[in-house]
């Protein structure tokens, strides 16, 4: 990644964090930096700026990992496996962050940390899939075989994801905006009813976290390449 981009992301995200935490929330916004109250969410609405982009980045990481898995199977170049596993390990981190930020938000909005709401269940299953993926990898010694089998597993896991979207809402009523149990039908995120200034911060955060993911991803890939190279040198001597 280019240096100017790194600096830009750092500044960008610092701005978003300051804006997300420090911008006052008032009934009737007077100036550009005042967020309006969202009924039912109040100050807790700030979490939209962090929780949703992190969840989004989790999905991006998962998809990237699966795509690189498919490319590995076609090209049989171990570098694609490094990319796939790098993305998966970042995805696991982001997945944990999304679960934690979500659980905290749920505690203060819905009364308890965990409610088995469809989307909570989905992210829990995503955690399980990531867990299983790394357990599988640790159970195989041989590099090429590990790469092949974990790629196949991520594809198999990937195709079940759409089922969660259909299955979960049928089994349990949801609390997240946009789900069947929601009285208003659509929440602030889905309808984009957020005030323009908040919406701008939200999208800026979405972009910021996505670029941050790619930055961390490129670092992780480089680290893995170096580790592999060092291992190669020590093994041959």
């Amino acid at each position: 990644m280019k240096t100017w981009l790194k600096i830009a992301v750092s500044v960008w995200l610092t701005g978003i964090i300051i804006a997300g935490i420090a911008f006052p929330m008032v009934k009737v916004p007077q100036t550009w930096y005042e967020f309006p109250f969202i009924p039912g969410l109040e100050e807790k609405a700030r979490n939209i700026i962090f929780h949703v982009p992190i969840s989004w980045a989790t999905v991006v990481a998962f998809a990237m990992s699966m795509i690189y898995g498919i490319i590995y199977l076609r090209k049989k170049d171990i570098d694609y496996d490094l990319r796939s596993v790098s993305s998966a390990s970042l995805g696991l981190l982001l997945c944990i962050l999304a679960t934690v930020t979500g659980a905290i938000w749920a505690k203060f909005n819905w009364g308890s940390f965990w409610n088995w709401d469809p989307r909570q269940t989905s992210i829990f299953i995503l955690l399980l899939i990531y867990g299983a993926y790394f357990v599988l990898r640790s159970a195989i010694d041989e590099e090429e075989r590990r790469a092949t089998l974990s790629s196949v597993y991520s594809i198999i896991a990937g195709v079940t994801v759409p089922f969660f979207i259909f299955v979960m809402p049928r089994i349990m009523s949801g609390l997240h905006p946009g789900s069947l149990g929601d009285e208003q039908g659509k929440g602030p995120v889905l309808e984009f009813k957020m005030a323009p200034n908040m919406l701008m911060v939200f999208f800026a955060s979405l972009i910021g976290f996505t670029v941050l993911y790619f930055w961390m991803y490129s670092l992780k890939v480089r680290q893995m390449r170096i580790e592999r190279h060092v291992q190669q040198i020590t093994e041959t001597h």
């Binding site: 299983a132 089922f163 049928r170």
Partner: protein, 223 residues
């Protein structure tokens, strides 16, 4: 059709082999007896809700599938016959043969489990039998579809025992939840039409799993 006849011979081989060695079936039947009696003991004089009972039914089916279905590929790998098979037939025939065998095995098992469940657990009353048996049939197909490819993956790993349920659970969860839901409908006495959505999910899950496995099986098998 070549592929059908070779798959059929693989299936017959699996079947005869199981019949001779009884690796899976005896142990599985004991597993079913044990888990069911544990459930019976723990229920005691209580009368648990039908929701809980529908859930435990599928827990028993899931774990018996997990302990039985991995054998097909693990046995080939352990006894060194997988290379023989790889030289004899193409991967697709192996996959189809083993898939059908796994389906037959899990279907027999879940029917046994379901019958004894209905007989011994008096609180568990099924009102719409069509829904119940269709769920058992389609649920078994779904379990077999996902387990076959996972068993092929696990056969190549170093630690095989505990890995199977770990890998299978997140993938099978949408299937299990749908099965539990459909079982609830059967106990509530819903009409067959009301469970159509559940059956659609079960069928599409099975089809998607088989199609995906069919595409990637060669990579696992020829590794």
């Amino acid at each position: 059709m070549m592929i059908i006849s070779t798959s059929y011979h693989i299936f017959v081989k699996e079947f005869v082999s199981e019949f001779r060695t009884r690796y899976a079936l005896n142990a599985l039947l004991m597993f079913v007896v044990t888990t069911l009696s544990i459930i019976l003991f723990s229920i005691g004089q209580e009368s648990p809700s039908i929701d809980v009972l529908s859930g435990t039914l599928w827990i028993v089916i899931f774990f018996s599938a997990m302990s039985g279905l991995s054998r097909t590929f693990v046995a080939e790998e352990e006894r060194g016959t997988s290379l023989t098979l790889r030289l004899l037939v193409n991967a697709s025939s192996v996959y189809i043969g083993k898939l059908v065998y796994n389906f037959a095995l899990i279907l027999v098992l879940s029917v046994i489990i379901a019958v004894s469940y209905v007989l011994f657990i008096t609180e568990f009353t099924v009102k719409t039998f069509e829904i119940f048996w269709l769920t058992i049939l389609l649920g078994s197909a779904g379990l077999a579809s996902a387990s076959t490819i996972l068993a092929a993956i696990i056969a190549k790993a170093n630690t095989k025992g505990t890995l199977f349920p770990v890998l299978a659970f997140p993938i099978l969860l949408p299937l299990l939840l749908t099965c539990i839901n459909a079982t609830k409908l059967a106990t509530e006495g819903a009409f067959l039409v009301e469970a159509v959505k559940e059956f659609q999910i079960l069928i599409s899950f099975t089809v998607v799993m088989i199609a995906t496995s069919f595409l990637v099986f060669d990579f696992v098998w020829k590794d």
